[in-house]
Point group: C2
């Protein structure tokens, strides 16, 4: 395994962050880690990482600092809060925020990082827990292209090299992630509606799925989430409350720029309805349950 | 090539019907054809088919009668109108309606066919002109399963054998086609919205498409129609006015059965807006032009 002299800092060892950090260790990197809960920190230390007391303590020792936390305020706190990354960030370092957050906040934070003589990349991911574990995430990168080239080998420990795509200037990675969540949502809601209709009139959604997978309606959503809808298996996966957060960012950003996204708006309301029905912790493939009942499209109830 | 004794009747030699009929001839079938315009009839006759004066004249000589016409009233006219198929249909024959029409009308027509001692299958297709020409259509079949088994070799001349799927009783093929058009539409509208947003804020939709194709947002729509959006190439393909017809059927059918299809409803309004903007004859991938301007998402205007 390749060994690198540089220390990689990793902040946020949740469902996604922990396996991503583990893959960095497997890739031969020296890791300095921090997370709110102690459990995953201990796991990473057992695997060879060094524990840090705070984000500041991570940044003091690392030339690359990766953040992977749930939402915009979390990134703001980790970077700009007390004992935050910015308080100790070394000139020439690269901060890679792999969380999915507001592109507007990303640009603001990027300026703050730049004021320390460092560089911030936004590099949100797609592929979920499975992709995080297998190191096959898609990574959408915004920010300085030279910094991207420099950290690309680090990203390649976590993502499929062919799916690590430079999108554009600061925030462009987050904008691409918004587009990703919108495209998934449109497929998800329309498959949900189609299955709800089929089920209501006594047509087997499993056969519908089979037929549709062979044609122009084929999608990863129909394949994977369509299967979840048939079996009623909504164990996450990707939690609805996090998807709702992504859609909130999408709607806010589109409104800011006066872009009409009517289908995304409808989808957002269905996600809100699912949250209201108690589905916040279910996989977001449960979207259709507000249309066809909570017990799954395939059970005939 | 295999030769069969039975005569296959084919009514409706349009953009889809003509290549489908040609593939039946290539498959060794004796064809008796009828269409409103003379040109394609002459082409088929030159290829070995026999011309019929009317739908009745087709049905008089055929044990299998295929109809491929634009809309519900067209099928009603061809089957139940003056000189229609029902006036001469032989007992034991199978009528295969491959048009995309109302499932409710399909069931009514199926009863009328049954009253003649014959059987009607609904067998709408997906795959467009390209699939029709290459004989690789997806075919979604509703109606009597024994009759389906009998005509399956005929369908296999027009469709990919692995994608000829028996869905259920009469009308189920049409319901599956509705589901197909809904699923395509959800993907189409959300990709359109995503590209509109990216373009508005100066992010290259081509890079967004590339990134999204690697992940969970991957779909045939993103691949094929996404490419059309980037180049602004809306030469049909599948005309918007026909897609609008399919969505009309979807909305009517869902309302009849009190199934909520809010995203499909939004998509329908965007298709209506495209029609109002003069896009009826454009490929339905032009849906997004009502969001990002008629000249294409990729041209920077």
């Amino acid at each position: 395994m390749p060994q690198t002299a540089q220390v990689v800092g990793f902040i946020g060892l949740g469902v996604m962050g922990k396996p991503m950090a583990q893959n960095l260790i497997k890739g031969g990197h020296s890791l300095r880690v921090h997370s709110r809960s102690r459990g995953p920190v201990d796991e990473l230390v057992a695997a060879g990482a060094t524990a840090a007391d705070s984000p500041a303590d991570v940044a003091r020792h690392a030339s690359i600092v990766i953040t992977m936390v749930p939402d915009t305020p979390d990134v703001e706190l980790v970077l700009a809060g007390p004992d935050g990354v910015l308080s100790t960030l070394r000139s020439g370092s690269v901060v890679i925020d792999m969380s999915s957050i507001s592109p507007v906040a990303t640009r603001r934070l990027s300026s703050m990082v730049a004021s320390k003589g460092a560089t911030m990349l936004d590099a949100p991911v797609s592929g979920g827990e499975i992709g995080a574990k297998s190191g096959s995430l898609s990574i959408m990168v915004g920010g300085d292209e030279a910094a991207f080239a420099r950290v690309r080998p680090v990203l390649a420990c976590m993502g499929n090299p062919e799916r690590i795509i430079y999108i554009g200037e600061s925030g462009a990675g987050q904008i691409c992630k918004i587009c990703n969540q919108m495209a998934i949502g449109g497929a998800l809601v329309s498959v949900s509606e189609a299955f709800a209709l089929a089920r209501k009139v006594g047509v087997d959604p499993a056969r519908v799925r089979q037929a549709l997978l062979g044609g122009f309606a084929a999608s990863r959503v129909l394949e994977v989430h369509g299967e979840r809808m048939l079996t009623g298996n909504y164990v996450p996966g990707f939690r609805t409350k996090l998807y709702q957060k992504d859609l909130r960012i999408a709607n806010e950003f589109a409104s800011t720029h006066a872009v009409a996204i009517p289908a995304t708006a409808v989808m957002t309301q269905l996600v809100n309805a699912l949250m209201a029905a108690g589905g916040a912790e279910l996989d977001y493939a449960a979207l259709g349950t507000v249309l066809f009942g909570m017990s799954g499209v395939g059970d005939g109830s």
